[in-house]
């Protein structure tokens, strides 16, 4: 088709591409209506023809039009990473979700398998046509609406990869006449969830700034320990994102030593890198004369870090009055408790998606 070929003549720009495609669809629809071959066609048949055209063209143009700019890829990654972190500590009350939704034992769970909603949403990347992507959103929201005012939304994983790119793609390339009413409503909900996540800060969850930063840091650490690269976040990864629960007996002494720094960080630090490098303590070798006023802020931050680490470590050690190795094991015990509660908290990721789409 000439139209598809003509696309390659223009520089890549999603807004222009979108506008050109919308014009093309409208022009084609008008042509179809005026064409003698379609003179006796019903409204429905014409609609089908245009739908088919949208699907055909967009499938051909997919690699150019979907999430193709580095900017889009960056936003996708940022959202995905933020959601993965939030999943570690977000609770329903942070979003004003009433306790009743927390009732796992609800009989409704049997009626509507709750994983259904997430499955629908995750399908979104399997489709290349705007209409089909939008249908995924609709199905997901419909399932949740069926669950609405009742049970829990259950199992995790509702961290659709490439959320931003998918929404942008639908917005630009779905026939404008079709992005109305119920479809527009559900679409808006997901756009608003995206915005909410991007802008999400301590205030959005009605918690203190310090608590928010600490929770995010702890989540980062919990994820780091699983050895998973955040930047390659995907649904599979989200599924396996639970920190492994290590039993104290299995932990060797050397491991324990390494994890103590991380343990302290779980108590809430800024940036916990392995302490072996000088990067965490850049002032160790510095003479007083070399310091400038600008260093004061950094020094203060470092000082606070050190105090926090020290306090956390003392607390952990205090719990044990036995041998040094036992002390270290206790540190690991604390770590295990953390890991377990992180696991518990991660089930709450569902509420994030629930918040906006129900």
């Amino acid at each position: 088709m000439d139209f598809i070929v003509s696309f390659t003549f223009y520089a890549e720009n999603s807004e222009n591409d979108g506008a050109r495609f919308q014009d093309f669809l409208l022009a084609m629809e008008a042509t179809i209506r005026d064409h003698p071959l379609w003179a006796s066609a019903s409204e429905e048949e014409i609609d089908c023809a245009v739908e088919g055209l949208e699907k055909y063209v967009m499938t051909k143009l997919f690699s150019r039009t979907f999430g193709s700019s580095p900017e889009d890829a960056r936003i996708d990654r940022e959202i995905s990473e933020k959601v993965l972190l939030l999943q570690n500590f977000l609770r329903p009350e942070h979003l004003d979700i009433p306790a009743v939704f927390n009732n796992e034992a609800s009989w409704l769970n049997d009626l509507f398998p709750p994983q259904l909603a997430e499955k629908e949403l995750l399908k979104i990347n399997a489709f290349r046509a705007p209409r089909e992507k939008l249908v995924c959103i609709l199905n997901c929201c419909r399932v949740i609406n069926n669950l609405l005012l009742n049970a829990s939304i259950s199992e995790d994983r509702a961290n659709p990869p490439k959320l931003h790119s998918n929404l942008k793609f639908i917005q630009l390339y779905r026939r404008q006449a079709k992005l109305v009413s119920e479809a527009a409503y559900y679409f808006t909900n997901l756009v608003s969830v995206k915005t909410f996540i991007i802008d999400l800060d301590a205030k959005s969850l009605s918690i203190g700034e310090a608590e928010f930063q600490e929770s995010m840091q702890a989540a980062r650490l919990a994820r780091k320990r699983t050895g998973i690269e955040l930047s390659h976040a995907s649904d599979e990864i989200a599924a396996s994102a639970f920190p492994p629960i290590r039993m104290p007996n299995d932990v060797k002494l050397a491991d324990s030593l390494l994890t103590m720094d991380e343990m302290a960080a779980l108590g809430g630090l800024t940036d916990a890198k392995p302490s072996t490098s000088g990067s965490n303590y850049p002032y160790m070798e510095v003479e007083p004369g070399e310091l400038t006023v600008r260093d004061v802020e950094k020094l203060l931050t470092l000082y606070k870090d050190v105090v926090k680490k020290y306090t956390n470590l003392c607390e952990a050690v205090k719990r044990s009055s036995l041998s040094p190795s036992k002390k270290l094991r206790d540190v690991c015990d604390v770590e295990c408790v953390e890991a377990v509660s992180t696991y518990e908290a991660s089930r709450l990721r569902r509420y994030l998606i629930y918040m906006a789409i129900s």
Binding site: L26, A30, D96, M355, A356, S358
Partner: protein
Amino acid sequence: MARAAGNRNIQAKLVLLGDMGTGKTSLVLRFVKGQFYDYQESTIGAAFFTQVLSLNEATIKFDIWDTAGQERYHSLAPMYYRGAAAAVVVYDITSKESFQRAKKWVLEIQRQGNPNVIMVLVANKADLDTKRDVGNEEGEQYAKENGLLFFETSAKTAQNVNELFYEIAKRVAKAVPLRPGGMKLHRRSQERGRRLFCCSGSSPFGSDDCNINSW
């Protein structure tokens, strides 16, 4: 019947705004389903309903966008009221605070919403007259000064609920110009709707789709 010529189908987006607990969802449920629950759950995010009202002059299909009243979701509101043909701002007559919040919503819509939007101020929970904290005249006066429709309603007793939506439907029908019957939804008719109802501001979706159209 000679009504055919004037019998048009109009689709109109209606958005509900107001503080949490003022009864937005209860009003919709009363209107759409004729139901009322004493302990209606808080709306999380938002919820969607449709209802068709048949008038002599036209059939109005309402797309009703219910929103969450919590402050934390406030910044998302423009996405929801964008392109609305009607905005219903609800307060609770037993809460002065909710009335103040309603005034803020009115201001926001006046500043940022579609200039042709049909705006209604609704004083809900009229059944709780003994606990009243906002006088009827107070609401009515404010509505008059700001060119809003005003209704005092009770989702619980159904007082004025249908009247409220019928009045909005009439206004919507009046706002959409008559055109020859039987005309199909086409590019041109859409554009006509656009000129009538769409806000000119930038939209989060890149296009100003209009939510009042013939169908």
